[in-house]
């Protein structure tokens, strides 16, 4: 990880140098990123040379479940606007519930209760508008 952060810090510092100082701005937009970037490079380099701690990465089958969960989360961001809030949220709660090891019928039930409940809480009670039906269902 030290290596990754070192590379990012180096790129960050390099990029900082490209921001031009504009009229009437003494320090300009470049100095602060450099002040942060250089010690960051030093620190990450020291972690590469003198590492501490050991990481047990999860076994491959666990990793699959994590990837599945991420896929559901990303899927939610993609389906929220087309499907509308309650449907997408129902899928999110049910699927994450199943991935976390809940019995499928219970997870589905939970999603079926909580998705409309959350919609009601935010849209109706707190007055934060959320589309009930997504773009797919609403004809222009």
């Amino acid at each position: 990880m030290g290596v990754v952060i070192f590379v990012i810090a180096a790129l960050y510092t390099r990029q900082a140098g490209t921001y031009a100082i504009t009229f009437g701005d003494v320090l300009g937009p470049t100095v602060f990123p450099i002040i942060v970037g250089i010690p960051m490079m030093l620190l990450s380099a020291s972690l590469v040379v003198f590492p501490t701690g050991q990481v047990d990465w999860p076994a491959p089958q666990r990793m699959w479940r994590q990837l599945a969960a991420l896929a559901v989360l990303v899927g939610y961001t993609l389906t929220l606007e087309p499907l509308g809030f309650p449907l997408a949220t129902f899928a999110l709660i049910a699927l994450i519930g199943i991935i976390l090891g809940g019995a499928p019928w219970r997870a589905v039930l939970l999603g079926a209760i909580m998705a409309p409940a959350l919609w009601a809480l935010f849209d109706q009670l707190l007055g934060l508008p959320l589309d009930f039906l997504g773009e797919l269902f609403v004809a222009d």
Binding site: V26, L27, P29, Y76, T89, L100
Partner: protein, 505 residues
């Protein structure tokens, strides 16, 4: 004496049936909004502003409602910090450090009670400070120049190494990642877009609440998934549903110290509640962490930051009312509302609108008591929440955070950022890197940079301005003292553990 009679008049105003009703509603809604991860006091207050217009409340009643929401959020933010390890809003991040470990050890009820009482003490001390010294404090705060703010942030970041984690280098690195993220977006001084990769979504920078819930909530789900079903506890055992009063009493000094530190941070415009709770935690850890229990569920590690953040949010009302300078995001919203109701905050507000000021102060006293009464009985209910099985709890938490963020910004991009931060948070946690410094870096980085650049603009490029004022010199001495103390303690602990090993062997 004059203050007392003015305050008396304030209570007369605050005790009207309408104002009491608004107060109760504000406290309840505020606690709810604060407890939901993804919704903080800024959103909470902003959401209710149209309501005050719709009913045509006068400025005093509107302020009573909104300040009750504000204080309620500050009380509520701690609940999910303690129970779920997910801060409900930005200032509540420090509470995760000791609050969640306490909950895991079956002390959830105590942690909630201590934080509730600490919130009450912190906020009450701040309101007393507000009613007695507001104009004087505001006059003192203006002598804090850009170079002094920069010194204050240096102090904050120098002490960050001590807050958590095994390796101080990793903690510092985490803070630096936060600072890096804080520079993303359009630079307000020069107008240059930085690290935006030509995406307009990044022009406004990284929204702290998005990073916060992503780092904590999403990464928590990923952490849970890597455990096998067997070794994951179904639910955390609850030691007791009722808090022990003795445990609360033992943290009294931590609460008072935290309140003092937080209040000072709040009075300084721009520092705000997050800095208040952070400084309160670090100060408390430095004074009383004799046995190395901080970060492992020390009740004082819950009491100090909670007292600190509530004292800071009360203190932030001082520069807002008497100078018209918002000390935090929430006070900026309150200020906007006052201005649109034709009330001009500033040096003449206390003379011209005594009804508003003292009615508000009186209702803040009442809001504190209400919140304490409201929160203590709810402890039993909230601790039972801990017994909800993970498969049911976490999907709901994920859904609430997504909705909370989306309902405010209406931006799918923000949700994608949340997932990104979830993965980042997961990787960093696996690598033993504490996430708290990252969030602090993100929250404070922008102001730190701007104040450095302002100082340099004032001096026309002469770096010596950074150590030119007595305030900044004092802060640097404090920083040096803090670092020296940490090094000394570390060396002593090292020797101690070596000696232990020798005797054992």
């Amino acid at each position: 004496m004059e203050t007392l009679s003015l305050l008396g008049q304030g209570f007369v105003i605050a005790l009207s049936p309408l104002n009491i009703g608004l107060l109760l509603m504000g406290c309840f809604v505020g606690t709810l909004l604060g407890a939901l991860p993804g919704l903080g006091p800024v959103n909470g207050v902003a959401v209710l502003i149209p309501l005050t217009f719709a009913f045509g409340f006068d400025p005093t009643s509107s302020m009573i409602l909104l300040c009750a929401v504000y204080f309620g959020c500050m009380y509520g933010g701690r609940i999910s910090s303690i129970l779920l390890n997910i801060p409900g809003d930005e200032p509540a991040i420090m509470t995760t450090l000791d609050g969640y470990p306490m909950a895991v050890q079956g002390q959830a009820a105590n942690a909630l009670a201590i934080s509730g009482v600490a919130s009450f003490i912190g906020a009450t001390i701040a309101v007393i400070g507000l009613s007695l010294f507001a104009p004087i404090l505001a006059r003192a705060a203006i002598h804090f120049g850009p170079a002094d703010y920069f010194a204050l942030y240096i102090l904050a970041f120098a002490t960050i190494g001590g807050i958590a984690g095994v390796d101080p280098r990793k903690t510092l690195l985490s803070a630096m990642i936060g600072l890096v993220l804080a520079t993303v977006g359009l630079d307000p001084i020069s107008g240059v877009p930085r690290y935006t990769f030509d995406s307009f979504h990044l022009y406004d920078g990284v929204e702290p609440i998005v990073a916060l819930v992503g780092l904590f909530a999403i990464s928590e789900i990923l952490m849970l998934l890597e455990k096998t079903l067997k070794d994951r506890p179904k639910a955390i055992p609850v030691g007791s549903w009722l808090p022990q009063w003795g445990a609360i009493w033992r943290t009294r000094w931590a609460m008072l110290r935290g309140s003092g530190v937080g209040f000072v941070a709040g009075v300084l415009p721009g520092a705000g509640a997050s800095l208040g709770s952070f400084m309160a935690y670090v100060a408390e850890k430095q004074t009383s962490n004799k046995k190395g229990t901080f970060g492992k569920g020390d009740p004082r590690g819950v009491a100090a930051p909670e007292a600190g953040n509530n004292a800071a949010s009360g203190g932030a009302l001082i520069p807002m009312l008497s100078l018209g300078v918002p000390g935090s995001g929430t006070t900026a919203v309150l200020l906007a509302m006052l201005v649109s109701l034709n009330v001009q905050p500033g040096p003449l507000l206390f003379e011209r609108q005594p009804d508003l000021v003292w009615g508000l102060v009186a209702s803040l006293y009442m809001a504190n008591i209400t919140l304490l009464i409201l929160n203590l009985p709810m402890i039993g209910i909230f601790t039972r929440l801990m017994m909800t099985p993970t498969w049911a709890l976490m999907p709901i938490v994920a859904a609430v955070t997504f909705v909370g963020v989306y309902s405010i910004s209406n931006s799918v991009f923000d949700l994608e950022m949340m997932v990104f931060f979830g993965v980042l948070g997961y990787l960093l946690r696996k690598l033993d890197v504490s996430l708290v410094p990252l969030v602090l870096g993100l929250l404070l980085g922008g102001d730190m940079e701007r104040n450095l650049r302002r100082a340099m603009s004032i001096s026309d490029g002469d770096w010596s301005i950074l150590i030119a004022s007595p305030i900044s010199i004092g802060l640097y001495i404090l920083t040096a003292g803090f670092l020296a103390l940490s090094v000394w303690l570390a060396v002593r602990d090292h020797r101690q553990s070596q000696a232990d090993r020798l005797t054992e062997g």
